[in-house]
Amino acid sequence: MKLSRKDILGIKELSVEEITLILDTADSFLEVSTREIKKVPTLRGKSVINLFYEASTRTRTSFEIAAKRLSADTINISASTSSVVKGETLIDTAKNIEAMNPDLIVIRHSAAGAPHMLASLLRQSIINAGDGAHEHPTQALLDMMTIRSRKGRIAGLKAAIIGDIAHSRVARSNIHGLTKMGAHVVVSGPATMLPREIETLGVTACTRIDEAIKDADIIMMLRIQTEREKQNVFPSLREYAQYFSLNRKNIALAREDCIVMHPGPMNRGVEISPEIADGPHSVILDQVTNGVAVRMALLYLLTGGNS
């Protein structure tokens, strides 16, 4: 079994077998980060470029740590300090990077499809680290890894995804991944944040959070993305918190052994109350730890080898 693709652009195009291979490989990589010497020589001499056109701490750091623990060299380019501010187009930037012959490019961009365009133009492997409101495949993979390690399986579980479903690439990637792996996905949020045709993706939609989290095994809270919500989709953060935050009261509706997830960064007191974020159900920091392992697995599976 091998991953026979050049790029990881989204969960939508991955098969159940490919997802399982990535998660199994990531499980094995978890151990490397617990060693005293957290480095293996696997990707010696390979270079990875992190091309970030949007703000990111967690994802960029996670990719960088993953590459470094595999002994690859990493170069970070963020749009705000690059020739992008001088007016260079994405294609020109990419062509110039390609001319320097790196092995893999990780890209985050506010435009959906930007990684796909690079993938078709460049011979290097491309990993999508988030494109607009489209997909964030590595987040969904680390979420599935966390669920598998906590629950032992994904199939047959009920997963509630709460928040701004319309603008969330995390929600979209997780919907593709979790439904493929056999979970029952329920989404909930204000009506203005639920895409009208969302049920065609194989999920159940409801406008009340209580309905969504009832008997849920997994509760995934999404961040309210003030940078993406240009028009007013809800009256105020306070009102949002009143109707759609996860708190001590409504979590009682979920299964007793439910896990609470959040892709970060959290708005404490808005979508999640602090006592839940730090409480016994929270696996939010496991997600971060597993993120490094998932990214190591992808770098390992995608790089190297001339056919």
Binding site: L3, K46, G305
Partner: protein
Amino acid sequence: MEQKKVVMDAEGINRSLTRIASEILEKNKGGEELVLVGIRTGGVFLAERLKRKISGIEGKDIPFGILDITLYRDDLSTSHRKPRLGKTDIPFSLEGRKVVLVDDVLFTGRTIRAAMDALIDFGRPKSIQLAVLIDRGHRELPIRADFVGKNLPSSLWQAVSVNLTEKDGKDEVVIENNI
């Protein structure tokens, strides 16, 4: 010429392991500071069996770890197929320990080179020794085993497989002509 030949049966394997267990204890003057590390996959089961034998003789538990050498292979950047990565589980420091690496077949020596590089990342062992069930020759690196079950002269086109009950349902060593 016969295609497939059994060169060691279950009893033979067991006798070899019993002898190796005694030799390990003799050479190390007991089980003090001793740890066994099995190389995935075949070496793991052999190391487990050696651990049981040594622990039985010494009357105390010998630490035992599992090593996957995939990340240390020297052919990763040239081969297109990525070997499936298994879990490494060495839940103790190797600092100052006498490590006995265990594998089923010693061939080119490249696996052992990778394994030694990996072990050093878990601390600085006092020594690393090598125990193998079969030494089939054809070394490509300056590596030799300290404990050998059976020396099996072989041709490069032959395949030597160590089948073990734990993974193959039966204990036997088989040599086959691979034409």
